[in-house]
């Protein structure tokens, strides 16, 4: 048998396969081509006006992926076909903040970015990562710009650099800003724990025979690390979506999943501040 013949016998069977692969390559090049680039740091100075910040915020909102879940669909209602609330008209909708949480628009928007699970708009799941965490990873200045942009959707941007509070994890790094839970706050939290019968299933000490995991600070920290979240974010998730992450062989469906709607943002804050504080507990 000649070399050409042998070669033909060897190559012919793979020709259809190569045609199929060729089609895949053609199709992959035929569809719209997008090269994704990592977000670039933007120069934001403290002297910028809210309007200037809002313009930067508009770019950041698109670049950092906010619009993969939220939409800006005027006249499409609150939902606006998105996985998160519609941004269109948010400034007029939330001009007075939320009950139990910040009572001003800028404060509410900042809290929604820093701790999106604290106040969940009805009908939405707790899926948004905190804005200072990946993938958005907004700096404080960038957060201010985004808040200004959102304020411009149905209102007027007013926030300047320094006007908004910083995220709690950032504040905790500054000793002067570290807010220790007050005695009143602790009393309020223990009353809330009693009211919602939390201590029926949980204990503050490890090793006690309870159906739910212990609330000892060390155990909570360990679980938060296992979940890959900050302690605050882990506690919020555990209260609002208790089935999202269960560790240590505890029954996954024991804890009711309605605390997200029963607790106000203020209540949730009080409980989390109490549980995450190092002060001795009964």
């Amino acid at each position: 048998m000649s070399v050409t013949m042998t070669l033909r016998r060897a190559v012919t069977p793979i020709v259809p396969a190569l045609v199929v692969l060729g089609f895949f390559v053609w199709f992959s090049n035929w569809i719209p081509q997008t090269r994704w680039e990592p977000p670039k740091a933007r120069a934001i100075s403290a002297q910028m006006t809210p309007a200037e910040l809002a313009r930067i915020g508009a770019v950041l909102t698109r670049e950092r992926g906010c619009l993969t879940c939220h939409t800006i669909e005027p006249n499409a209602g609150l939902k606006g076909q998105g996985r998160g609330p519609n941004f269109a008209g948010i400034a007029s909708r939330r001009a007075k903040g939320v009950t139990g949480g910040p009572s001003d628009l800028a404060g509410y928007l900042a809290q929604s970015l820093y701790e999106p699970g604290v106040y969940l708009v009805e009908g939405y799941a707790n899926i948004m990562p905190a804005s200072q965490r990946p993938p958005a990873k907004l700096t404080y200045e960038e957060t201010t710009a985004v808040v200004d942009y959102l304020m411009s959707l149905g209102g007027t941007p007013t926030a300047k650099i320094g006007d908004l509070s910083r995220p709690s994890s950032e504040a905790a790094r500054t000793p002067s800003a570290a807010a220790a839970p007050t005695a009143a706050g602790a009393t309020n939290a223990t009353a809330l724990l009693d009211k919602h019968n939390c201590l029926t299933c949980h204990a503050f000490k490890t090793g006690e025979d309870r159906p739910g995991p212990p609330l000892a600070l060390a155990a909570l920290r360990e679980n938060a690390a296992a979940r890959g979240l900050s302690l605050d974010a882990y506690l919020i998730e555990s209260i609002v979506q208790p089935r999202a992450f269960v560790r240590g062989g505890f029954p996954p469906d024991l804890m009711p999943d309605e605390y997200g709607t029963q607790l106000t943002a203020g209540d949730l804050h009080a409980i989390i501040a109490y549980l995450s504080s190092p002060e001795p507990k009964p």
């Binding site: 793979i14 396969a17 692969l21 993969t68 669909e73 998105g82 996985r83 799941a125 690390a225």
Partner: protein, 595 residues
């Protein structure tokens, strides 16, 4: 038999394998010891450009090639051992069938030693590339996973030893000593699976890190290993690897069929190709669910993954994936339908083929409908597609994919009935009940999907689980019924093995290329979804070119990887087949009987 006259060549091959295996072990041990001593205190990357090569591209190619060879050597022993056990079970009552199954298992295992060498070589190359180009990242990974880096080579060496003993003692450990051979096969599979599970822990930690604090310091190694993505990826890879390995074996059989000089040889390789395709079709039934399981866990870890994959920058990738999987499913089904031609008296079953084809194509059109079609970053807004609307939602897709799987299953049932006449007294009633149940299964799947479409998201997820359970339940019940229906069935004519048209073999070879390309695509997806993060949320990729290429560019690289993989595989098979030329071979193996 396999070793006669070829001892030197085999010894040389085995020694090269051992050197490669030792190289992998050395790299990992080096990483596990030297690097763990390095003072890597935080999750900060550092970069190098050895020999001015494109580090990213080099690691991409090396990692993907290694994964492909590793998938092959992990999967083939699983079903080869299963087939060997089938033969062993038949040894006393049907010696001819036992010998045939043993031949098939050995023929599949024959592909392993050369593939194992390439697994080890590409693994060593990957290790060196990562170590040289990404020292900061590798240092951090060693700090977290140091103990596993030490354990991994031990299992790898144990797997190597078992593989070579299992393969090279095939003829010696026959008869009463067969159980020792089977035991070696079991050990090989256990060690291989452990090796994969360990490597999966590293890969999934990069996607869903756990067991570390916010600064990246290790808190709990167990949690780092058993991170949220670990078990879903283990399951997905186990299933996908079997599909992958089976299709590669089928392609090998197709090639041998086309080059066969005698009818007996063609008959045997026709049977081997059929078996490979059957295994692939069976495991394909579970692949979409394994994929959804992995996807659900990723979404639960971070919603960002879900939107990046389905509604963001990678949404078009899943259109490509749907087209590739459609080609895979339709190709495998087409080969199965062509198989009717080998069976005299299968005309009643062949009538269904056009209808099945239409259902498959329509199903894939729905599956390929995207939630969002973003033509640019600016368009990645998460809304519905302006023309296709809500067809891109999960509920219609779940109906489509589940019905596709049901059609594939029904194809298999028809194949079982082709050329056979039922003899049980209740055949008519039994057939009516069987088809009634199949129709009921389809109706329940569609009904649940329609209900889920209108229900809130958390209910929709539950209905999709029910759809899967209904499908599995329907399959199990109707298959058991089928076993009773076919009991004592009269065969109109024997299956004419070796008469499969040549186009059937071309399809099998094309399927192997498609599955390799698909694996390359999904490997890219898994890596690309992390965007500019080495370890999601912990270690950012700050190197130049940390973004993503366009899908067109990615497709070119994936195609290049696919071709390199097949060239390497073909060369290694060709070298190994030189040693097999002098075998007495197939003449001694009885031809396959009717299925």
């Amino acid at each position: 038999m396999a070793l006669e006259g070829n001892g030197e060549m085999h010894n040389r091959a085995a020694s090269s394998n051992c050197i490669a295996a030792c190289a992998v072990a050395a790299v990992l041990l080096m990483l596990g010891t030297d690097l763990s001593l390095a003072q890597v205190t935080s999750a900060t990357p550092s970069y190098a450009e050895p020999a001015r090569i494109d580090s990213r591209l080099t690691v991409w190619i090396a990692a993907q090639l290694h994964l492909m060879f590793a998938a092959f050597v992990l999967a083939v022993p699983m079903f080869a051992l299963y087939i060997e056990c089938m033969g062993w079970r038949l040894a006393k009552r049907d010696r001819a069938s036992a010998e045939r199954y043993d031949w098939l298992a050995h023929e599949m295992a024959r592909l392993l030693p050369p593939a194992y060498s390439l697994t080890a070589i590409t693994g060593a190359f990957l290790g060196f590339a990562l170590f040289a180009a990404y020292p900061g990242f590798m240092g951090y990974m060693t700090k977290i996973f140091g103990p596993t880096f030490v354990v991994y080579p031990l299992f790898f060496v144990a797997e190597t030893v078992c593989l070579y003993f299992w393969y090279y003692t095939w003829d010696r450990l026959q008869g009463t000593r067969k159980w020792v051979h089977v035991l070696l096969g079991i050990l090989l599979n256990v060690f291989g699976t452990i090796v994969m599970f360990i490597a999966d822990a590293w890969a999934t930690f990069m996607m869903t890190p756990a067991g570390v604090d916010q600064a990246g310091n290790l808190v709990d190694l167990y949690a780092a290993v058993w991170n949220p993505g670990w078990m879903p990826l283990n399951v997905h890879r186990l299933v996908a690897n079997i599909t992958f390995g089976a299709l590669l074996c089928a392609a090998y059989a197709a090639y041998r069929f086309l080059l066969a000089a005698t009818h007996e040889e063609r008959a045997l390789y026709d049977w081997m190709g059929y078996t490979g395709n059957l295994i692939a079709l069976f495991t394909m039934l579970f692949l979409p669910f394994a994929g959804y399981y992995f996807g659900f866990e990723l979404f639960a870890f971070s919603a960002t993954y879900g939107v990046t994959l389905m509604g963001g920058v990678l949404s078009w990738l899943f259109i490509i994936q749907a087209i590739v999987i459609a080609a895979l499913f339709i190709g495998a089904a087409y080969y199965a339908w062509l198989g009717f031609l080998r069976i005299p008296g299968s005309e009643p079953q062949q009538r269904w083929v056009p209808a099945f084809n239409i259902i498959l194509i329509l199903g894939f059109m729905v599956w390929a409908t995207p939630h969002t079609m973003a033509a640019s970053i600016e368009e990645s807004t998460g809304g519905f597609h302006p023309l296709l609307g809500a067809l891109g939602l999960m509920a219609p897709k779940m109906i489509a994919v589940t019905v596709i799987l049901l059609v594939l299953y029904v194809s298999y049932i028809l194949y079982r009935h082709a050329g056979r006449i039922l003899t049980v007294s209740w055949a008519n009633v039994g057939s009516a009940v069987q088809w009634g149940l199949i129709v009921l299964t389809a109706a329940a799947i569609v009904g649940l999907g329609v209900y889920g479409y209108f229900a809130p998201a958390h209910i929709r997820i539950q209905t999709s689980i029910w759809q899967i359970l209904v499908l599995i339940g329907g399959i199990v019940i109707t298959f058991v019924l089928d076993q009773f229906l076919l009991a004592g069935a009269r065969t109109q004519a024997e299956v004419r093995w070796g008469t499969m048209p040549r186009r059937g073999q071309y399809v099998l070879i094309a399927l192997a290329f498609i599955i390799v390309w698909l694996m390359g695509l999904m490997g890219y997806a898994r890596s690309a979804v992390r965007l500019n993060w080495h370890i999601f949320g912990l270690m950012e990729d700050t190197s130049a070119g940390a973004g993503l290429p366009s899908l067109g560019e990615a497709a070119v690289v994936i195609t290049a990887i696919t071709l390199i993989f097949f060239v390497l595989l073909a060369v290694s098979f060709a070298i190994s087949s030189l040693s097999a030329r002098s075998q007495a071979g197939h003449a001694a193996v009885p031809g396959p009987a009717a299925v």
